[in-house]
Protein backbone atom coordinates (compact mmCIF):
# COMPACT_ATOMS: atom_id res chain seq x y z
CA UNK A 1 0.00 0.00 0.00
CA UNK A 2 1.41 3.38 -0.98
CA UNK A 3 0.39 6.31 1.16
CA UNK A 4 0.59 9.95 0.16
CA UNK A 5 0.94 13.06 2.31
CA UNK A 6 -2.48 14.09 3.55
CA UNK A 7 -3.62 17.29 5.11
CA UNK A 8 -3.27 17.45 8.88
CA UNK A 9 -4.26 21.08 9.31
CA UNK A 10 -7.59 22.29 10.60
CA UNK A 11 -8.58 25.96 10.59
CA UNK A 12 -9.27 27.00 14.18
CA UNK A 13 -9.94 24.66 17.12
CA UNK A 14 -10.63 20.92 16.80
CA UNK A 15 -14.18 20.25 17.99
CA UNK A 16 -15.20 17.41 20.28
CA UNK A 17 -17.74 16.48 17.57
CA UNK A 18 -14.89 15.93 15.11
CA UNK A 19 -13.16 13.70 17.65
CA UNK A 20 -16.38 11.74 18.29
CA UNK A 21 -16.93 11.30 14.56
CA UNK A 22 -13.37 10.06 14.12
CA UNK A 23 -13.87 7.49 16.91
CA UNK A 24 -17.24 6.45 15.47
CA UNK A 25 -15.67 5.91 12.03
CA UNK A 26 -13.56 3.11 13.49
CA UNK A 27 -16.47 0.99 14.67
CA UNK A 28 -16.51 -0.86 11.35
CA UNK A 29 -12.88 -1.90 11.80
CA UNK A 30 -13.49 -4.90 14.01
CA UNK A 31 -9.85 -5.97 14.14
CA UNK A 32 -9.13 -2.95 16.36
CA UNK A 33 -8.96 -3.65 20.09
CA UNK A 34 -7.36 -0.45 21.38
CA UNK A 35 -7.36 3.25 20.58
CA UNK A 36 -4.94 5.75 22.08
CA UNK A 37 -5.77 9.43 21.76
CA UNK A 38 -3.76 12.49 22.69
CA UNK A 39 -5.34 15.95 22.80
CA UNK A 40 -3.45 19.21 23.23
CA UNK A 41 -5.51 21.94 24.87
CA UNK A 42 -4.58 25.63 25.05
CA UNK A 43 -3.72 26.65 28.62
CA UNK A 44 -4.43 30.02 30.20
CA UNK A 45 -0.81 30.36 31.34
CA UNK A 46 0.15 33.40 33.33
CA UNK A 47 2.64 35.64 31.58
CA UNK A 48 4.25 38.70 33.10
CA UNK A 49 1.39 41.03 33.85
CA UNK A 50 -1.23 39.09 31.91
CA UNK A 51 -2.66 35.74 30.94
CA UNK A 52 -2.90 33.76 27.68
CA UNK A 53 -6.32 34.07 26.04
CA UNK A 54 -5.51 32.18 22.81
CA UNK A 55 -2.71 30.79 20.68
CA UNK A 56 -2.37 31.70 17.01
CA UNK A 57 -0.75 28.89 15.04
CA UNK A 58 1.14 29.27 11.77
CA UNK A 59 3.09 26.64 9.85
CA UNK A 60 5.42 26.11 6.93
CA UNK A 61 2.64 24.02 5.51
CA UNK A 62 4.30 22.22 2.59
CA UNK A 63 7.26 21.19 4.74
CA UNK A 64 5.03 20.26 7.69
CA UNK A 65 2.86 17.99 5.55
CA UNK A 66 5.90 16.30 4.05
CA UNK A 67 7.42 15.86 7.51
CA UNK A 68 4.15 14.55 8.96
CA UNK A 69 4.07 12.04 6.11
CA UNK A 70 7.62 10.86 6.89
CA UNK A 71 6.77 10.52 10.58
CA UNK A 72 3.59 8.57 9.71
CA UNK A 73 5.54 6.17 7.52
CA UNK A 74 8.19 5.64 10.20
CA UNK A 75 5.58 4.97 12.90
CA UNK A 76 3.63 2.58 10.65
CA UNK A 77 6.93 0.81 10.00
CA UNK A 78 7.79 0.53 13.69
CA UNK A 79 4.41 -0.34 15.23
CA UNK A 80 1.71 -2.73 14.18
CA UNK A 81 -1.09 -0.20 13.74
CA UNK A 82 -4.45 -0.37 12.05
CA UNK A 83 -4.95 3.41 11.79
CA UNK A 84 -3.21 6.67 12.56
CA UNK A 85 -4.64 10.18 12.40
CA UNK A 86 -3.03 13.55 13.08
CA UNK A 87 -4.82 16.90 13.20
CA UNK A 88 -3.23 20.23 14.14
CA UNK A 89 -4.93 23.61 14.31
CA UNK A 90 -3.91 26.67 12.33
CA UNK A 91 -5.06 30.18 13.21
CA UNK A 92 -6.52 31.16 16.53
CA UNK A 93 -7.38 28.59 19.23
CA UNK A 94 -8.76 29.96 22.49
CA UNK A 95 -7.85 28.68 25.95
CA UNK A 96 -9.74 25.49 26.76
CA UNK A 97 -10.00 24.56 23.08
CA UNK A 98 -8.22 21.65 21.40
CA UNK A 99 -5.27 22.38 19.07
CA UNK A 100 -3.80 18.91 18.53
CA UNK A 101 -5.53 15.55 18.03
CA UNK A 102 -3.41 12.41 17.61
CA UNK A 103 -5.18 9.07 17.25
CA UNK A 104 -3.66 5.59 16.92
CA UNK A 105 -5.46 2.25 16.75
CA UNK A 106 -4.16 -1.28 16.98
CA UNK A 107 -5.17 -4.81 17.79
CA UNK A 108 -3.55 -4.60 21.23
CA UNK A 109 -3.13 -1.72 23.64
CA UNK A 110 0.65 -1.60 23.92
CA UNK A 111 1.19 -0.82 20.24
CA UNK A 112 -1.49 1.88 20.16
CA UNK A 113 -0.26 3.55 23.36
CA UNK A 114 3.45 3.51 22.49
CA UNK A 115 2.85 4.70 18.93
CA UNK A 116 0.66 7.58 20.12
CA UNK A 117 3.25 8.75 22.62
CA UNK A 118 6.05 8.67 20.05
CA UNK A 119 3.90 10.45 17.48
CA UNK A 120 3.13 13.29 19.89
CA UNK A 121 6.83 13.74 20.71
CA UNK A 122 7.84 13.77 17.06
CA UNK A 123 5.05 16.16 16.08
CA UNK A 124 6.08 18.60 18.82
CA UNK A 125 9.78 18.38 17.93
CA UNK A 126 9.81 18.05 14.17
CA UNK A 127 6.85 19.83 12.61
CA UNK A 128 7.54 23.41 11.49
CA UNK A 129 4.60 24.90 13.37
CA UNK A 130 4.67 27.98 15.60
CA UNK A 131 2.34 29.17 18.30
CA UNK A 132 2.03 32.82 19.23
CA UNK A 133 0.39 33.35 22.60
CA UNK A 134 -2.14 36.17 22.53
CA UNK A 135 -2.50 37.71 25.97
CA UNK A 136 -5.50 39.30 27.66
CA UNK A 137 -3.71 42.67 27.72
CA UNK A 138 -3.15 42.50 23.92
CA UNK A 139 0.54 41.65 24.29
CA UNK A 140 1.91 38.75 22.30
CA UNK A 141 4.47 36.16 23.17
CA UNK A 142 6.04 33.46 21.01
CA UNK A 143 5.43 30.09 22.62
CA UNK A 144 8.43 27.96 23.56
CA UNK A 145 8.01 24.18 23.71
CA UNK A 146 9.54 22.50 26.73
Amino acid sequence: MTRKPKNIFVEGPISSEKIAKSIQNHSSKTNIGAHSIFLGQVRADEKEGSVVRAIEYTAYEEMALQKAFEIREAIFEKYNLTCMHIYHSLGEVKTGEICLFVFTSSKHRKMAIDACEELVERIKNELPVWGKELLENSDENWKVNT
Binding site: T58, Y60, M63, Q66, L100, I123, P128, W130, W142, N145
Partner: protein
Protein backbone atom coordinates in the same frame (compact mmCIF):
# COMPACT_ATOMS: atom_id res chain seq x y z
CA UNK B 1 12.39 34.76 -12.16
CA UNK B 2 16.01 34.00 -11.23
CA UNK B 3 17.32 33.76 -7.69
CA UNK B 4 16.59 32.24 -4.31
CA UNK B 5 13.20 32.47 -2.63
CA UNK B 6 13.49 33.21 1.08
CA UNK B 7 10.57 32.51 3.41
CA UNK B 8 10.51 33.55 7.06
CA UNK B 9 8.30 32.00 9.73
CA UNK B 10 7.21 32.57 13.30
CA UNK B 11 9.01 35.38 15.12
CA UNK B 12 11.55 35.69 12.28
CA UNK B 13 8.78 36.76 9.92
CA UNK B 14 7.96 39.63 12.27
CA UNK B 15 11.55 40.86 12.23
CA UNK B 16 11.86 41.14 8.45
CA UNK B 17 10.11 43.63 6.16
CA UNK B 18 8.57 40.82 4.14
CA UNK B 19 7.65 37.24 4.94
CA UNK B 20 8.70 36.02 1.52
CA UNK B 21 11.19 37.64 -0.84
CA UNK B 22 13.61 36.99 -3.67
CA UNK B 23 17.32 37.01 -2.93
CA UNK B 24 20.32 36.91 -5.31
CA UNK B 25 21.93 33.55 -6.06
CA UNK B 26 24.65 32.48 -3.59
CA UNK B 27 27.17 29.66 -3.82
CA UNK B 28 26.15 28.04 -0.56
CA UNK B 29 24.12 28.54 2.61
CA UNK B 30 27.03 30.09 4.52
CA UNK B 31 27.34 32.86 1.94
CA UNK B 32 23.59 33.28 1.97
CA UNK B 33 23.52 33.63 5.75
CA UNK B 34 26.35 36.20 5.67
CA UNK B 35 24.42 38.28 3.12
CA UNK B 36 21.17 37.97 5.09
CA UNK B 37 22.91 39.06 8.32
CA UNK B 38 24.42 41.96 6.41
CA UNK B 39 21.07 43.05 5.00
CA UNK B 40 19.02 42.36 8.15
CA UNK B 41 21.36 42.80 11.17
CA UNK B 42 18.60 42.05 13.69
CA UNK B 43 18.58 38.42 12.44
CA UNK B 44 21.84 37.96 14.39
CA UNK B 45 19.99 38.02 17.70
CA UNK B 46 17.55 35.31 16.68
CA UNK B 47 17.72 31.54 16.95
CA UNK B 48 16.72 29.83 13.70
CA UNK B 49 17.50 26.90 11.44
CA UNK B 50 17.61 26.79 7.67
CA UNK B 51 15.64 24.55 5.38
CA UNK B 52 16.63 24.19 1.71
CA UNK B 53 13.72 23.02 -0.41
CA UNK B 54 11.89 21.95 2.77
CA UNK B 55 14.80 19.90 4.10
CA UNK B 56 16.40 21.05 7.35
CA UNK B 57 20.16 21.43 6.90
CA UNK B 58 22.77 21.03 9.63
CA UNK B 59 25.86 22.26 7.78
CA UNK B 60 26.96 24.45 4.89
CA UNK B 61 25.13 23.31 1.78
CA UNK B 62 25.80 24.19 -1.88
CA UNK B 63 23.01 26.04 -3.70
CA UNK B 64 21.97 25.84 -7.36
CA UNK B 65 20.49 29.31 -7.14
CA UNK B 66 16.74 28.73 -7.43
CA UNK B 67 16.08 27.01 -4.11
CA UNK B 68 13.39 27.80 -1.59
CA UNK B 69 15.15 28.78 1.63
CA UNK B 70 13.19 28.88 4.89
CA UNK B 71 14.24 30.61 8.10
CA UNK B 72 12.74 28.52 10.91
CA UNK B 73 12.73 29.56 14.56
CA UNK B 74 12.38 26.75 17.14
CA UNK B 75 9.16 24.84 16.52
CA UNK B 76 6.36 25.30 19.03
CA UNK B 77 3.38 23.36 17.71
CA UNK B 78 0.94 21.31 19.71
Amino acid sequence: MEGLTVKAFGMIAEKLPEQEFKFPKKENTEELLASLYNEYPNLKDLDFSLAVNQQLIQQNTPLEGDEEIALLPPFSGG
